[in-house]
């Protein structure tokens, strides 16, 4: 009887040991992940999946591999592994997390149409009604990456994400209107550039347009039709068109800079999840 009990004990010990091996392996992979050694971390998570015959850590491992690829900038591979995590998901929470992770990748890559589509699907699925605030939160981020700051601000404000809402409001106030910049330059060459703070460029644009405009008008006034047409076509119109295009380009560029700076600020100061 005692021997039988001892045998059972050994079998039980073996079972426990194999479980502890699994945990050890998982901890080892996690330690590589936390030390940002993503290449080796991926290998160890793959090992975990390969030997985990009961698939107890499959979802977790796929998710971690996807994160490694994401942090390494390999978004395509990250998509693939988040999709595998979605297939391996066993609860609504896991399914939701996988979908949100795919959505976050889309936001990060500025594929905002895809992100909205995923969020719409989640919103319309009653199984995820308890996660409504989370869906809304990521909607806010999608707006943010679309540079639709007003909408993003409204969402963050509604969710009481005060820090985020404050930064979004600041960004909204700082952002230049591309339309306004173009229209200003249409009426007064160089004005759009002045509006976006590119004074030297604006001044140059103004002077070139003034000079080529003067030459054109002068030619027409002196009935030198041919000269007028040539100068207006090859000189004035070129400068005029270039001035409007420049104004648009500067406004977009400035807005991008503001967006990048705001992201840096958010990443370092705001204690919230980010895409």
């Amino acid at each position: 009887m005692n021997k039988f009990l001892f045998l059972l004990l050994i079998i039980f010990y073996n079972f426990i040991y194999s479980q502890s091996d699994l945990i050890k392996q998982s901890e080892y992979a996690d330690s590589l992940f936390h030390s940002q050694d993503y290449f080796d971390a991926i290998k160890e998570y793959k090992r975990l999946i390969f030997f985990d015959k009961e698939n107890s850590l499959q979802f977790y491992s796929y998710n971690q591999i996807a994160k490694c690829y994401k942090y390494g900038g390999k978004f395509e591979d990250s998509y693939n592994y988040f999709s595998l995590a979605l297939i391996a998901a066993k609860s609504y929470r896991e399914i939701f997390d996988s979908k949100i992770n795919i959505c976050r990748l889309n936001i990060l890559e500025k594929k905002t149409k895809n992100a909205h589509r995923i969020l719409d699907d989640l919103e319309n699925d009653s199984s995820f009604s308890e996660f409504f605030d989370e869906i809304k939160y990521w909607r806010g981020w999608t707006f943010y990456f679309e540079m639709e700051y007003q909408k993003a601000y409204e969402v963050f404000n509604e969710l009481n994400k005060e820090e985020l809402a404050k930064i979004t409001k600041k960004v909204l106030d700082k952002t230049y209107s591309v339309q306004k910049s173009k229209i200003l330059s249409m009426f007064l060459p160089g004005a759009g550039q002045f509006y976006t703070g590119n004074y030297l460029n604006g001044l140059g644009s103004f002077v070139w347009n003034l000079l080529s405009g003067y030459l054109t008008i002068n030619a027409f006034a002196n009935e030198r039709l041919f000269d007028g047409i040539i100068i207006s076509n090859f000189l004035w119109l070129r400068f005029y068109k270039g001035n409007i295009e420049n104004a648009e380009k500067f406004a977009i560029q400035k807005n991008q800079e503001i967006f990048n700076q705001s992201l840096k600020l958010i990443y370092s100061n705001v204690n919230e999840e980010i895409p």
């Binding site: 021997k3 001892f6 050994i10 079998i11 073996n14 091996d21 392996q25 991926i42 090992r47 030997f51």
Partner: protein, 277 residues
């Protein structure tokens, strides 16, 4: 019976507790094979390299060489292919893959040597690849006897390639330049019809405008249009020479890309590796 099980399980569990199951050599090999079949070659190499020498076989050496080839480390790949034993069944495949490496490097001298050195092995793939590269890159044409290693469909392709290389559809830049004395004719010669017509029209219109303005005593405009016409005329001659050169370049590029496409389709005459079925 219970006693036997009892004595079996105790040493087993003891040995088990001594090793980490996931990193035991036989499991490293299993996992490396899995990575190899998943096409995760870099990690597969790392795992194979962790194995003790007692586990290293020609198959593993070949797999490491093949993995290096897949990630573009051709020199390392060759090194592993070279270490495979001459009597191994994988040796001829390794020689063929080495030939493929040399073909990709366009090192045809070494490719020749590789074929000569291993002529006692079944390396028909390498021989076919060598003959094809000689035709494509060195304009050296094989004899009928040499061509006999190709099967009928391949021979058709090789014959076509030989004709294209022996009698290329070549346009002489000098002839194109001389023909351009009449604006646009050089470009017609290089089959650049729309450019030829444009050259003729633009040069003609500006020459006519220059002539008309001089006739009507508009000296400045006369000079302006005549100089523009001259510019277009000289540009037309230069453009025709360039057009002929581009025509020839396009021709060779088409021949190269068609040949490479065919070779790729045929897996460069190398037998496919089947380790993951």
């Amino acid at each position: 019976m219970l006693r036997i099980i009892y004595w079996l399980i105790i040493p087993l569990s003891f040995s088990y507790s001594q090793n980490n199951y996931y990193h035991a050599p036989e499991n490293i090999k299993l996992f490396a094979d899995h990575l190899f079949c998943e096409s995760d070659y870099l990690r597969a190499i790392e795992e194979y390299n962790r194995l003790d020498s007692s586990f290293i076989s020609d198959t593993i050496l070949f797999k490491i060489g093949f993995s290096y080839l897949q990630i573009g480390e051709r020199k390392l790949s060759d090194r592993y292919f070279d270490t495979i034993d001459k009597n191994s069944s994988l040796k001829s495949l390794a020689v063929n893959y080495k030939s493929f490496n040399l073909f990709l490097n366009q090192d045809f001298e070494s490719l020749k040597k590789n074929v000569q050195l291993n002529s006692d092995l079944d390396i028909t793939g390498s021989q076919k690849l060598l003959l094809s590269s000689l035709i494509i890159y060195e304009n050296k044409f094989p004899s009928n006897e040499q061509l006999s290693i190709f099967d009928n469909s391949d021979r058709l392709f090789i014959n076509e390639l030989v004709i294209k290389k022996k009698y290329p559809d070549h346009k002489s830049p000098t002839v194109a330049g001389i023909l351009s004395i009449i604006p646009g004719l050089g470009k017609l010669y290089t089959k650049d019809y729309s450019d030829g017509l444009t050259s003729l029209l633009i040069t003609g219109i500006f020459s006519f405008l220059g002539y008309e303005n001089f006739n009507n005593s508009h000296q400045f405009r006369g000079y302006l249009f005549s100089l523009t016409a001259l510019g277009f005329y000289l540009g037309n001659i230069y453009g025709s020479i360039i057009s002929a050169k581009r025509y020839n370049q396009d021709y060779y590029e088409k021949v190269y890309s068609a040949a490479n496409e065919y070779l790729k389709q045929k897996n460069y005459f190398i037998q496919q590796v089947k380790f993951c079925e």
